[in-house]
Symmetry: C2
DNA sequence: GTCTATAACTGGATAGAC
DNA sequence: GTCTATCCAGTTATAGAC
């Protein structure tokens, strides 16, 4: 008989290592974390990380990859649905929603690991060392589909402008994912980094307005 | 007679250490860099970093602080000038310009160190560990002045919304400062991370439109 | 100010018992 | 799969000669 999966103490050790790595890498970066710290947080032996994942670098990749495909899948679903509703060319805001809402949904889901995973993606996307390679390999194929949809929604716009607007969107999203707590301090508690509801509800129209201004739609 | 400052071999070693630390910390993060690497890049002895700056942590702070005051000064100047021109309440876009243009100007200045310093600020702002404390202590006093100006330019708006919009602005700026090279790849060379001219020229209207949409001005 | 030498420690990685 | 024991390269930091 298998123990119930809901009890964290019964979680397979392999998964516990990934959970711990996710949280620590997200917060302290690749070099700021030791395998010993990860093992301690996961409550497993140090050598076990090596047994399951090989080198530290490979554990980092495995942590990143575990949820990347899931995120890509739900996003692709959202984009396809928007395209179906929009008869092939959904309006701008629907595309941006399809890009952002899945993340919001995962954050609000039952699995709290998504919060750490999002922070990990923010860390990787902000880093020149990791970002260029890893984001390109694992996320850009899907992002290219979003860019293509944006081009269709905003014809008569130079592709260059669409790329820059996507860059600003990516920046706003990345800092939101990082949940650094800075907005909490700056606003003296008025806003919270953890308030995903407000963060995404406002981000979508904010970004949509920016696109419209730059890409010259009414 | 002082040697010409343009010759790097005559730069005082202390400054060379800061230059090297700036570049390496920005790219690899605090934990991703060793004092030996910094010393090697600066072409000085390992012990010298310790002699001048004390512990590694203090060298990191010193690197961050060297240009922070300068940046705050030019920004404050820009904000005051905008307020003078706007009779106390400059229009939205003038405030955003006063926030962003000084950075663009420093990046385009003769001192290439500003490029690395900007990436360092991006690293710190993206990090939950460093960001909350260091950004708050050294940048938030001035940022609060910008927020106050935004509140005046956008009356009848809940302060909460202004803070969130500033957060999106900060995110777009941070990813731009990081110059990760991702936009280069995604756009297949159409756009360059290093193209500050375009990056800021488009960011200002993009962000202004977002503010207007959220904060309900025409 | 500058460098040599070294102390004291921590990191990743693995071999081998169970 | 799991854990003990250990290797050794590389780290910060400093004491002391010049």
């Amino acid at each position: 008989m298998k123990p119930p999966v809901s009890d964290p103490s019964f979680t397979p050790k392999r998964e516990r290592i990934l959970d711990a790595a996710e949280e620590l890498f997200a917060r302290h970066g690749y070099d700021g974390v030791t395998l010993r710290q990860i093992a301690k947080k996961a409550d497993v032996d140090v050598a076990l990380a090596n047994y399951h994942f090989g080198k530290k670098r490979d554990l980092f990749e495995a942590t990143f990859l575990r949820r990347a495909q899931i995120l890509n899948d739900v996003r692709l679903q959202a984009l396809l649905e928007a395209e179906k509703e929009g008869d092939g060319t959904p309006p701008l805001e629907a595309i941006i929603s399809a890009f952002l809402r899945p993340i919001q949904a995962l954050k609000l889901s039952s699995d709290p690991g998504w919060r750490n995973y999002c922070a990990l993606v923010a860390y990787i996307n902000s880093s020149a060392v990791w970002g260029e390679e890893m984001m390109h390999r694992h996320f850009d194929p899907l992002v290219s589909r979003y860019i293509a949809a944006l081009k269709k929604a905003l014809p008569n716009t130079e592709p260059e402008k669409i790329h820059w607007c996507y860059h600003y969107l990516s920046g706003a999203l990345t800092l939101t994912l990082a949940q650094t707590g800075r907005i909490d301090r700056l606003s003296e508690g008025l806003c919270q980094s953890t308030d995903s509801q407000t963060a995404y509800d406002l981000m979508i129209p904010f970004v949509a307005a920016g696109f419209e201004r730059i890409c010259g739609e009414p």
